[in-house]
Amino acid sequence: MTSTTVRNRHDDALETDDEFRARLRTFLTGNHPGRRPKDPSERLAWRKAWLATLFDAGYAGPSWPREYGGMELSFARQVIYQEEYAKARVPGPLGTGLGIAAPTLIKYGTTEQKERFLRPMLRGDTVWAQGYSEPEAGSDLPALRTTARREGDEYVVNGQKVWNSAADLADIIFTLVRTGTRESRQQGITYLLIDAHAPGVTVRPLRDLTGDAHFCEIFFNDVRVPVSHRIGEENGGWPLVRTSLGHERAAGTMNQAAMYRRVLDELIELAHERRATADPLVRDRLADFEVRVRIMRYTGMRTISDIMAKGEPGPASSTSRLFTVTFEQDLHEFAVEMLGSHGVLGRHDPHAVQRGRWVWGFLRTRASTIGAGTAEIQRNTIAEQLLGLPRDPAMPPMVRSQ
């Protein structure tokens, strides 16, 4: 463990990390797209325009290979990129393609598929949305029932997907479908890219407990998908799930830590304003959150250090998601309590504190321990994959990996 600043071996000799940071910051602030439009379609156009600006100037895809328009940055620079991007408060990527589908395409796609799909995705010209979960296949994804029947050089897809974010904006839905028998579980799953505008695709917003629709349901009714839109082999889709580009998860941890650092600072400021910090019970809780938000950051740093030194993250990186979701639930619940009766006003009330963000966060973070694998499934996975505890003999083999 040394105390000097890390100099990464992949650095471009012509520019120091600080110079890179400065250049990036200048670009992001200089080209900031301004206030977010209220009208949804204007907002979509505004976001697409920003992503195109970013791409055209060579500032998109920090981890992506240059051949697909990315920056192919060293890991240390990716971290700098994420930090500056978060600070600049510019719009993020559209849809969920970049984090999930792109790594899969890069790793498993044909040359033709990569050429065709990657650049438009990165530039924001096509928006991608995930279609994995189904009403009967949540934690148990291998139980999915959406079928794809081969007819010549097409698949005919039928079924329903749920909990799809950005599906209402999507041009392409990347999805898992069943091509094997109903009992085939992981062995009968195929990875397909489905044109969201194709006949038979219906996307419906799904109102969640916050009252908003952050997710959609997708219905496929005899949707015809060319075989060329299959990634990997037929019945070979399962291993493609959750491919990630090496270091991106660690950078994501740092991102989350930075975001919650800001959120906690705002909560502490609010506590001061409302003179709540005079209460030792409040102080003790806030200090506990301070401990945890800092640990979140240190774990991110430790993961990065491990990756750089050993090429792979240690066990801490696998527990950090559970650490974070517990933190965010606890934080919002405490915030609501701290605000007392004002805390339980809805966000449309003029008396609501900070437009009800805390109570909204309390509601929203109910999903933290449910989405993308419940906290229970995460604990199972940690126990089995990291600690090597034996499988439950009554579970089907090969549970979804994290």
């Binding site: 009967e136 148990d140 009252g211 609501v336 309590e337 339980v344 809805g346 009554a394 089907p396």
Partner: protein, 375 residues
């Protein structure tokens, strides 16, 4: 003291459960929580006319059934279970009990018969913009009017059904301390606004009073001393709320258990997994403990025992947390479906989290308990 129910009380519970299952299923709850009225006026009349619920805990001489906190607790437990949107809590548990405890015969004669008959809705206004529920923190003022009587000025917040109630019992400060003042819905100088509450099944209002004519309520008529019945009325409200919370928590447990029996993941009902079993067992433990605290508090209240403040603080501290815990676990056990708007799980969570703050948060109840028992 025994903590079980008489046959009549059990029958009251059973008939009310049938009534609410029939008249206030989920669809009705959702329809009325989104309606302007916030509740079903026809149901309100039926409750009064067929079941006499509004008068259940009121003296017979004012048209009530002569029951007490135990009977009221049964009714609220069932209403909490059904998540009934209704002015019942404000009218009966808050205003009705406050009037009945006031020792003010004139006030009782004037308003209790209307409450018992279901023709008058009412509420009590305590908290203000500070959000505190402590009587000592009340800032609204009452002053004697030149022509006799009183006027009240100030702003009241988080008043349950405050924007619709036919009668407002406002806690306001006189020179000698807080007192209770009755303001009728058409009184001059009053502005009422509905707040956007987290809980769509219980309306909250803001009331601005500016020299609004009022009638003082209390055993001493116009005398200027802080009346003890106000504290008692607040304790009775806390006990009533605890009963409602027990009902809500039980509903969450029941729903979670039912779902865990039928939801299949990994080729097994999820209720066969230890993680789900243990969550359900812990919910049952919390629900049963909350029940003990609540039945005890109701029984103490029925006896008119001096133990009421302790019993109420205890029930307030425990039941709020138990109910929120059950509501959160219910969502977690339901997974994705529990996160949807269509499933009722979130309505129970919103009710639970909001109720936690009514009349003081759990930590405030614990602090009061500590004072009372000499910790």
């Amino acid at each position: 003291m025994t903590l079980t129910f008489t046959e009549e009380q059990e029958e009251l519970r059973a008939s009310l459960r049938r009534f609410l299952t029939d008249k206030s299923p989920s669809e009705a709850v959702r329809r009325w929580m989104e309606a302007e009225e916030g509740h079903d006026p026809a149901l309100w009349r039926q409750m009064a006319e067929q079941l006499g619920l509004q008068g259940i805990a009121l003296p017979e001489e004012y048209g009530g059934a002569g029951g007490g906190p135990v009977e009221l607790g049964i009714v609220l437990e069932e209403m909490g279970r059904a998540l009934l949107p209704s002015p019942f809590f404000a009218t009966v548990a808050l205003a009705g009990q406050a009037l009945a405890a006031s020792g003010d015969d004139a006030a009782k004669s004037r308003w209790l018969p209307g409450i018992a008959a279901g023709s008058l809705t009412a509420t009590v206004a305590i908290a203000e913009e500070s959000g505190s529920w402590r009587l000592e923190d009340v800032a609204a003022t009452a002053t004697t009017a030149p022509g006799g009587g009183w006027t009240v000025s100030g702003t009241k917040m988080f008043v349950i059904d405050g924007h619709t109630a036919g009668l407002l019992l406002v806690v306001a400060r006189t020179g000698a301390g807080p007192g209770l003042f009755a303001v009728e819905s058409d009184a001059a100088g009053m502005t009422r606004t509905r707040l956007d509450a987290l809980d769509p099944t219980r309306r909250l209002g803001r009331i601005d009073l500016d020299g609004t004519p009022a009638v003082r309520v209390g055993p001493d008529g116009g005398a200027d001393a802080a009346p003890a019945f106000l504290r008692e009325a607040l304790d009775l409200a806390v006990v009533a709320l605890a009963a409602e919370q027990v009902g809500g928590a039980q509903a969450c447990l029941d729903t979670a258990v039912e779902y865990a029996k039928i939801r299949v993941q990994f080729d097994r009902p999820i209720g066969s997994f230890q993680a789900i079993k243990h969550k359900c067992a812990d919910m049952l433990l919390a629900v049963e403990a909350a029940r003990s605290a609540t039945y005890h508090a109701a029984s103490v209240a029925a006896e008119g025992s001096a133990e009421l403040p302790v019993a109420a603080a205890l029930a307030g501290a425990y039941c709020s947390e138990a109910c929120t815990h059950a509501a959160k676990e219910n969502i977690q056990i339901h997974g994705g479906i529990g996160y949807t708007w269509e499933h009722d799980a979130h309505l129970y969570l919103k009710r639970a989290k909001s109720s936690e703050q009514l009349f003081g948060a759990p930590a405030a109840h614990r602090a009061r308990l500590a004072d009372l028992v000499g910790i």
